[in-house]
Amino acid sequence: MELKNKKWTHDQFYAIRGEVLNQWPTGAAVDFAEAVKYHENIPAKKHFAKQLVKAKKNGRTLTQPRAGVALINEHINLLNFLRTEGEADLLPTTIDSYTRQNQYAEAENGIEESKRAGRSLLNGFPAVNHGVAGVRKVIESVNGPLQVRHGTPDARLLGEITLAGGYTAYEGGGISYNIPYAKSVSLEKTIYDWQYCDRLVGIYAEHGIEINREPFGPLTGTLVPPSVSHAVAIIEGILAAEQGVKNITLGYGQCGNLFQDIAAIKALEQLAEEYLNNHGYPDCVLTTVFHQWMGGFPQDEAKAFGVISWGAAAAALAKATKVIVKTPHEALGIPTKEANAQGLKTTRQLINMLADQPFPLSIEVQSEIDIIKAETRCILDKVYELGNGDFAQGTVAAFAAGVLDVPFAPSRYTLNKILPARDNHGAVRLFDIGNLPFTQDIIDFHQAKMNERAKAEGRNASFQMVIDDIYAISKGRLVGRPH
């Protein structure tokens, strides 16, 4: 196989489909023609892609939690609770971590242990093991649009089963579900395997079935500068569009400085439109997702609600199409359904109160938009150049060269040379630029910002500053100042 950003032919797709469906016995129940008919009968109010388009048109920000447990009935109860008590607009099915690593036998064991223990021992819903029939039980028993959320480098079988089961949205991508979620899987393999997923969604689209695709925006969720995650998001958007995906949501994880966060969503929308248009995909519908703070949370629940509220406010003021919501249990792991509903309701209240308040495009926001765009262009244009006009090949070469680089990632396929830190106003900048292909002006800008903070704190910028920033919010501050 030679990796290229080129739409797979049907022959190419069907040549490996049998092998994919054979990875676990439940794959045998996937029947594409029957699945298309099943999708045709899903009402618009339960259709994820359609609800996003409607929200974009009306300028609304929709709420969505993360949630998933091991057993079908418990999962249904959880989602219905989040819909009724938590007032969630959109619903997830978070997949457990064994399934994400294609460890279906371990997932089966987790299901059995959960039955015996009377509580979920898995951190998500093992959709492959439950199969098409099990998935449809969820779809039919839950009154809301449903998306698969996971972190799976090879998500081909999971995609086949959940989409045939009736899910109308599928998260992930060949970069965003590799670099933050794997240790030693090559980008060639994950981009190729995600072309399969995108092509599957594209083939559904050829049959008139619209399925939303969402690359995972926040990456490692730890002080990722907007331009770094935007470059990955836009590349994954282009890779998906090439395979025939028509409904794409691009995401960004909150950094915490309001001007930077609003600017990031604006810059992402504008740049993605531009790049998709310029590279031959003018017919994609683009929406945005804002992730509330993905880093460490305060253990104190009242303080956690403060963090959640700030994320809700930023999402609403940035006019993101949807917001992924955190919970007051974030510091302690997987939340109870009650805590999850509380995070949703806190967010709902903020969004409603801010819905009628436009945020003015101030000089501060505009200059952040300008810098994010300039940085993202530097990266994207270099990736394209390294790939000789091919974003798939360019991505592989760019990661090897550090032109694309994700901080704090587990994968050995990112150089891990860049180091982010906050500036004196809490915006995320780069303390070490690594090999990012920035212009001298941009490099000087970051250095000046870091120097300004270092001077204010009377210390040099160092790895200790980065560590202080990683823990700052969980300790009650935005910027990790010395004691």
């Binding site: 971590s97 951190n123 792991g333 805590a339 704090f408 560590i467 990683i470």
Partner: protein
């Protein structure tokens, strides 16, 4: 002058868990405290912890689990160490060890029964882990001073 050899400890995130940030910071802090860290990174199976400990003659294995499957993943590690002839190695575990907000004392008891010497709650100060490590090594006569 010969440099004194530093005590080796094994560090890793167990099972199908890929939380990498705390792992990188732990490596930094434990190294700064004077130990030689053999960091296995994320997604580490039990046998890799044991093999690395044998190969490097490490005195402690520090296991992290952040994603909720800790209960399934961590069970049996002490037994594996015993089978491999390093039954008395120090085993520490920490993170978000079970699914859901649970009383930490119950969690701690559960993991102590599994054979871990120390069990840490979420948000533990890393200084405390370093102090415990120094104390435990000293008690076993493995301290550097």
């Amino acid at each position: 002058m010969m440099q004194q050899e530093r005590t080796k400890v094994i560090l890793g995130v167990i099972g199908a868990d890929c939380h990498a940030v705390g792992n990188k910071i732990l490596e930094h802090v434990i190294t700064a405290a004077g130990y030689e860290v053999v960091n296995l990174g994320v997604l580490v199976p039990q046998e890799d912890f044991v093999n690395a400990a044998i190969e490097t003659d490490a005195k402690a294995i520090l296991v992290a689990s952040l994603y909720g499957h800790g209960e399934i993943d961590c069970r049996g590690l002490r037994g594996r160490c015993e089978e491999a002839g390093i039954g008395d190695i120090l085993l520490y575990v920490g993170g978000n060890l079970v699914v859901g907000k649970t009383d930490f004392h119950e969690v701690k008891e559960k993991f102590l029964e599994m054979g871990y010497n120390r069990v840490y709650e979420p948000g533990v100060l890393l200084e405390r882990v370093i102090e415990d490590l120094q104390q435990d090594l000293q008690e076993r006569g493995l301290s550097r001073d």
